[in-house]
Symmetry: D2
Subunit: 80 residues, 4 copies
């Protein structure tokens, strides 16, 4: 069985621990985001609609307008 | 080391093969769906908007109307 | 407001309905797969391990062997 | 058309901006993680195996041992 020399093993351990620390930070932020949504919900806001608004805000105004016009066109075509 | 008796092993194999066959069928249908989208794209339709229309059609008319009113309200509130 | 002519609207509706039918077939197969896992669970099998075995069976034997050797090497290096 | 009063609109805007800031932080950390993987790859490590090691390290030793025994049992049963 092949083995890794000590310095490579140390390097690998260091890489893994850096990723694990970052993954933990990321999980903490994801948990903070969940908390803000819970807070919003307890204030009476609809979190699904908030998510939708946030996704719309990511788009350029021109891009958003074009998409909405096309969506309206398709919806009218099939009567929904 | 513990082992599985022959009939349990056969049963396990049968379960695995049934799942694999179903997974293959599912992958084939996913591929058919992709083909319809490619065809739609080649006809000049916007596939992202088609996806959106399909997701809207899954909702009850009343539910959809309510969501759209709330979205409009939130968008007006933040000026988007 | 721009509108779609009747033949384009019909074509769009046909595309959407084809996708919806395929999505429904796909959902039915996904439900069948879930049923086989439930059946396996009720027979005493561990479905998480079954999923793992199915993912291993997708790999080429040579590829699988190589991956497992490398995993053993990495695990020994960090003592897990 | 119903509208939101100013204080509710301000509150909604504040919620949305807090979520957007957190989403940005989360995206930055996800990008840092990607960078560590790229660095590991450039050093000659197999990033797929690193991911696997990290997922194994999340489990309790006892739980991991049990899963691996069961996996070996299932693999022997179906000859993989």
């Amino acid at each position: 069985m092949e083995t890794m020399d000590n310095s490579a093993a140390e390097q690998l351990r260091s890489i893994i621990e850096r990723i694990e620390r970052l993954e933990e930070e990321k999980a903490n932020i994801a948990s903070d985001i969940k908390d803000v949504y819970s807070e919003a919900k307890s204030m009476g806001y609809d979190t699904k609609i908030i998510r939708k608004v946030i996704s719309l805000r990511k788009k350029q105004p021109h891009e958003l307008e074009e998409e909405e016009q096309l969506l309206t066109l398709y919806r009218m075509a099939i009567g929904i």
